[in-house]
């Protein structure tokens, strides 16, 4: 069997085990809740009978293992239950809010790779010089503040004092875009409305950059650290003594071995961004999962909490599988081996 296919099969299997573990963990957390979710859902005027009925309907009176059984059976059918907060299926709520969050995270991910890796390469190429010190300092600053602080600073600087970007939202009200995928950047292109696409892209820049900053710093720092080590290797010295251009040595020979550890960190940072998006969305009034997630947590809406965390974790696992496959593709030792690593 193809080593990549075997790796994929193996990763999918372990991910499934981990996902079941996550579902148990989240389910257990959600059920040790103090306070009766049925009473919270129905409000203070509910009768004892109404509460008893809702409790029976939600299987709240059963043993926790039985409750988990009901829950997993529903999840397998793609049913995450009804949100007690919006009175709609949790899957419908998540489908409504998740695309905006994913769009933000994806753009931030592209920025992280597109800015972080080149910064790391420059830094390593000019190691010990002023450019290197400056990049290292900026990367460390990027890592050192939560994304909501960057969001506030960027918004004040580039949306208010220098009004280059919009202060809030996903797109200007004047554009009416019928949702197809829920990703505005994709929907506007599908409908061939380039001006709306430009407007949506213009809105996403600041929030995505605020979200990406710590990832950019992380990627640059790690790439630099690995490349500086690689620069001591004999094959680099040989390339230098042959008079290869410094830029080619940096981009081709020194960078390549450090790509794999960098990609691993990028995968982890992507996961962190799925959570940190909550922080940035709050500042830029971005209509994503944040407001929904915080609202359901504060209202102790069990189904919605469990559903949201489960979907985010599944997304995270999916991203990690993709990153692992990319690493395998890039690593000849895995690509050409008969046995999967």
């Amino acid at each position: 069997m193809n080593p990549l296919a075997r790796l994929l099969a193996k990763r999918l299997a372990t991910s499934l085990i981990v996902l079941i573990g996550v579902s148990m963990l989240i389910f257990a957390i959600a059920r040790i809740i103090p306070g009766d979710p049925a009473r919270i859902a129905l409000g203070p005027n509910a009768t004892q009978e109404q509460i008893a009925n809702l409790r029976a309907e939600l299987h709240l009176d059963d043993n926790i293992v039985v409750q988990y059984g009901y829950f997993i059976a529903d999840v397998a059918r793609g049913d995450l239950g009804i949100s007690l907060y919006t009175n709609r299926p949790v899957t419908a709520d998540i489908a409504l809010y998740l695309p905006a969050t994913l769009e933000l995270v994806l753009v931030a991910g592209i920025m992280m790779v597109g800015i972080g890796l080149p910064l790391g390469i420059w830094s390593a190429r000019w190691r010990g010089r002023a450019a290197d010190n400056l990049i290292r300092l900026v990367s460390l600053l990027g890592v050192s503040a939560p994304s909501f602080v960057w969001a506030v600073i960027l918004m004040l600087l580039f949306a208010f004092y220098l009004p280059l970007f919009p202060i809030a939202g996903r797109i200007s009200d004047s554009y009416a875009i019928a949702p197809v995928t829920g990703f505005l950047l994709a929907d506007t292109l599908i409908q061939g409305d380039l001006r709306a696409f430009g407007n949506a892209a213009w809105h996403v820049v600041l929030p995505a950059f605020a979200l990406a900053l710590s990832g950019i710093g992380q990627a640059a720092r790690l790439t630099r650290a690995n490349m500086v080590e690689t620069y001591d290797k004999p094959y680099i010295e040989m390339a230098q003594s042959y008079g290869f251009p410094a830029r080619r040595i940096a981009n081709r020979y020194a960078f390549r071995p450090s790509l794999i550890p960098s990609l691993t960190i990028i995968g982890l940072d992507f996961a962190a961004m799925l959570g940190n998006a909550f922080l940035v969305e709050a500042i830029f009034a971005w209509p994503g999962l944040s407001r929904y997630g915080v609202a359901v947590i504060l209202r102790k809406d069990l189904n919605a909490i469990v559903g949201t965390v489960l979907i985010i974790s599944a997304t995270f696992l999916l991203v990690n599988i993709i990153v692992d496959l990319l690493i395998a593709l890039l690593n000849p030792r895995i690509r050409y081996s008969q046995r999967p690593a």
Partner: protein, 277 residues
């Protein structure tokens, strides 16, 4: 130790880190003497001076009920540092022990422990802490619990990777040959070799715990008012952007200063101790 300190003070960046951390720790410990209005750390109102931009004697300005922001930032540092110390004091021993045991014993123990670790690492950190805080009441103690729950797996991973390498080393084999107990080998032979990496990570993490805790309270899931907290100060102030900018900028920069300081020291320690990532 003395040598490490000498190297730290010789490099301008790590010296800056030491200064920043010293300022943060000093102001947190002696907050009662430094803060110009110590009573403003609690539920005090002074409507005569509400929402003032920075000007003497309010160098960071005042909040919407007239409390001195500088005072509140200093007292918030106190909470942040306590939180960081408690979280690491609980998370590190748990994570390190699990990593040592999984790495040294191997086999089924390793599989179960590392899959368990994977489960915790598979929920984005903030989301895990949020869901725990959502279930519990938002208090300082529960905040520590939530952050601890998301923190230990990183130490497990770190120590596990080192242990797997170390257990093939000659000194471990020698200890096994003379019949040393597993406990002795794990904690007296292997653990000391993990210490540099653990210390480096703890220094960096002191900053990151402060960062995550402020994120939780920013979302309203942390320390509750009137206790001053950097994250909730930013969240409260964000409603009044851009006019009352000082309400968010100073607490935000306060987080940056503390985390940056710990990161600078952690980075320098990593270079000095040669600890792995």
């Amino acid at each position: 130790m003395k040598r490490t300190f000498a190297i730290l003070t010789a490099n301008p960046l790590s010296l800056l880190g030491l200064v920043l951390v010293f300022v943060v720790v000093f102001s947190a410990v002696f907050a009662d003497f430094i803060a110009p209005f110590p009573e403003h750390a609690g539920a005090v109102v002074d409507f005569a001076n509400f929402n003032q931009p920075p000007k003497w004697p309010y160098i960071f300005g005042t909040d919407l009920v007239g409390r001195d922001l500088f005072t509140r930032v200093i007292y918030a540092y106190r909470i942040s540092l306590i939180l960081g110390i408690v979280v690491l004091a609980i998370a590190v021993p748990i994570g390190v022990s699990i990593g040592l045991v999984a790495g040294y014993l191997g086999g089924r123990t390793e599989y179960v422990l590392m899959r368990l670790t994977d489960v915790f690492l598979s929920v984005p950190p903030l989301v895990l802490a949020m869901s725990i805080m959502g279930v519990l009441q938002p208090t300082l103690a529960n905040g520590m619990l939530a952050v601890t729950a998301m923190w230990w797996p990183w130490y497990t991973r770190l120590v596990y990777n080192i242990t797997r390498g170390e257990k093939e080393e000659g000194y471990v084999l020698a200890a096994e040959v003379i019949g040393a107990s597993r406990l002795h080998i794990i904690f007296r032979e292997i653990l000391p070799n993990c210490v540099p990496a653990i210390v480096t990570k703890m220094t960096l993490d002191m900053g990151f715990v402060i960062l995550i805790a402020s994120s939780l309270s920013f979302l309203g899931l942390g320390v509750q008012p009137p206790t001053p907290d950097l994250g909730s100060m930013v969240a409260d102030g964000a409603k009044y952007l851009p006019d009352s900018w000082w309400l968010t900028i100073f607490p935000g920069l306060a987080i940056l200063v503390a985390v940056f300081g710990f990161n600078l020291i952690g980075d320098a320690l990593r270079d000095i101790l040669g600890a792995e990532q």
